[in-house]
């Protein structure tokens, strides 16, 4: 009897906490999402009226932002993957005795506040940095064009900020590959590209799936990069949720949050099915 009870006792405090401060808040968010302002009440006072039109109106008002969020997050994830995969591969197979040192160096930049690093990019690439004048002198950038306040800056900023979430899972799964399987592939007359496509990549798929999810999810909900590096035409759904929240318009905030979460969950489920792995955690 005692043995059967042990895991439940271990789970009890943590799950009681998550139930109270994670599941219950999500439910209370659902509750607020169909509420309407109390007529004659103070600002920020709402009553439950089960008005599901809140969702439709919130979505239609900010469908551009939704589209932008998903597109930017997708591109940032792809860029992070393109940067991280060779990096993780080199860490796993080409770094020899410096492996641990280099692994620390991958994480080290993230010991500096991410907001300060984003502000640093903004200043390096901004009007008063040295990059823009240099490119203008070389004729690579017109006098009116900028690097910041563009979609590209937002996407690169997100790719940069979420890079360790991509690199670490990739490294973990590439490092587990037995180098002898790669040698075997070579012995069977596969060239480098074929070996990568038929052996390395399939074996590292759990890392690719975990890394892309851990990058895509925070990127889709981000608003800091769009605010610091983007212009007025680059604002994402996170910016809308944040600004609605400050009004305060809690029903719209909640409806948008739920729609975002539903969109992300659908994408995640479809993606995991397609990628054919369930070892995400």
């Amino acid at each position: 009897m005692k043995k059967i009870r042990t895991p439940y006792l271990l789970l009890l405090p943590g799950f009681a906490f998550l139930l109270t401060f994670f599941i219950f808040p999500i439910l209370s968010l659902a509750q607020v999402s169909t509420a309407t302002p109390i007529s004659g009440g103070d600002i920020g006072e709402f009553e439950q009226t089960f008005r599901f039109r809140n969702y439709l109106e919130a979505f239609l008002d900010s469908r551009e932002h939704f589209g932008r969020s998903l597109l930017y997050a997708l591109l940032a994830t792809l860029i992070a993957l393109l940067i991280s995969y060779p990096l993780a591969y080199a860490l796993a197979f080409k770094s020899g005795k410096y492996k641990n040192v280099l692994l620390v160096l991958v994480v080290a930049p993230f010991f500096t506040s991410f907001l300060l690093r984003t502000v640093a990019w903004k200043q390096i690439l901004g009007e008063e940095g040295f990059v823009v004048p240099t490119l203008r002198n070389l004729g690579l950038l017109s006098d009116t064009a900028t690097i910041t306040s563009t979609a590209g800056a937002v996407i690169l900023g997100m790719a940069y900020n979420f890079l360790p979430f991509m690199t670490l899972p990739l490294y973990a799964s590439i490092d587990r590959i037995d180098p002898r399987t790669l040698e075997a592939s070579g012995d069977l007359y596969a060239n480098g590209f074929t070996t990568f496509r038929r052996v390395t990549l399939p074996l590292s798929m759990p890392g690719v799936v975990a890394g892309t999810l851990l990058t895509f999810i925070p990127a889709a909900g981000d608003y800091v990069n769009a605010e610091l590096l983007g212009g007025p035409n680059n604002s994402m759904i996170g910016n809308v949720i944040q600004s609605r929240f400050l009004i305060p318009d809690y029903p719209t905030t909640s409806a948008l949050s739920f729609t975002l979460m539903a969109a992300i969950l659908i994408i995640v489920v479809v993606y995991i099915r397609k990628a054919g792995t369930d070892e995400v955690v």
Binding site: I4, T6, P7, Y8, L10, L11, G14, F15, F17, F21, F22, P25, I26, L29, V32, I83, P86, L87, A90, L91, K94, L102, V104, L105, V106, A108, P109, T112, S113, F114, L115, L116, R117, T118, V119, A120, Q123, I124, E128, Y160, L163, L214, I217, P218, G221, D222, Y223, V224, L228, Q242, F245, Y250, T253, S254, S257, L260, M261, I264, V268, V281
Partner: protein, 279 residues
């Protein structure tokens, strides 16, 4: 072709070709070096500009000074914000490490009914965008008529740190050799003694790594903090607030100091664990 002629052909190969060959062989190492440059550009920029002899804003280079390093609390409220971040980070780390480690032992060590549902409950907070997590926790506090502030922020941080602790500790538990525990039992250690003398010391590095991860996640969090902290200013909130009117160089000093401190901690940790392995 005689071997002598062959050698002549090899030595006559133009310099360009051998450079190209060297690049081909080391392409991935060059790529790795470039990736590291990309990673460290903003860190280096932040460090360099901590020596800037600037006034309120710190955008253009005004000259070199040590003054900001000697007086890191010189800018108004920057050290108050840092203090809040450290306090919130420590509390969130303690709570999330305890709760997360218990869950990790349950999931990593036992087969029980509801195990996959438990895994899902751990995965969900990680799959929820921070902005949704922040807004939802605040909506609970509003329903309960609790004002946002210090403790609501700690609670919100524990929510997103727990899952990362569980995943990290669980990985360590999974890599343990069950034979070590069996050996302890064979030597007449009871369940509790086995846990305290064998299992726990073996899992300890995983717990330490999880605690470090939880602290750094909490310390650097902005989005969830911004929803739940009310008038309490944390270090990221300070930077965000100052970004519009100019960030004082003291913020660069503090961020650089945190960077070197964390780097030193990780390196010491690695050296200690290597020495243990050797002895």
């Amino acid at each position: 072709m005689s071997s002598l002629e062959k050698e002549a052909v090899v030595s006559r190969r133009p310099l360009g070709a051998s450079i190209a060959r060297w690049f081909g062989k080391n392409l991935i190492r060059i790529y790795m070096a470039l990736a590291f440059v990309y990673l460290f550009i903003p860190v280096a920029y932040t460090f360099v500009f901590s020596f800037n002899d600037s006034g309120k804003s710190n955008i253009t280079w005004q000259g070199f000074t040590f003054e900001k390093w000697l007086n890191p609390c010189g800018a108004p409220r920057v050290c108050e914000a840092l203090g809040n971040s450290i306090k919130i980070g420590l509390l969130a780390t303690i709570f999330s490490t305890i709760l997360g480690t218990l869950i990790a032992f349950a999931i990593g060590r036992y087969l029980f009914k509801g195990r996959s549902a438990s895994n899902l409950l751990i995965f969900l907070p990680m799959a929820t965008p921070e902005i949704v997590l922040g807004a939802s926790i605040l909506s609970l506090f509003l329903v309960l008529q609790i004002n946002p502030g210090f403790w609501p922020t700690v609670i919100a941080h524990v929510v997103f740190c727990v899952s990362f602790v569980v995943v990290t500790v669980k990985a360590r538990i999974a890599s343990l050799d069950p034979k070590l525990e069996q050996a302890a039992m064979d030597l007449y250690a009871n369940e509790f003694q086995t846990f305290r003398r064998v299992t726990l010391p073996l899992v300890a590095p995983g717990i330490a790594a999880a605690a470090l991860l939880a602290f750094s996640l909490s310390f650097d969090d902005f989005i969830i903090t911004n929803f739940n902290s009310g008038t309490v200013t944390t270090f990221p909130k300070f930077i965000y607030g100052a970004a519009a009117r100019g960030i004082p160089a003291q913020a660069n000093v503090i961020a650089s100091a945190v960077f070197f401190l964390a780097l030193a901690l990780v390196i010491i940790g690695q050296v200690v664990s290597r020495k243990r392995k050797v002895s």
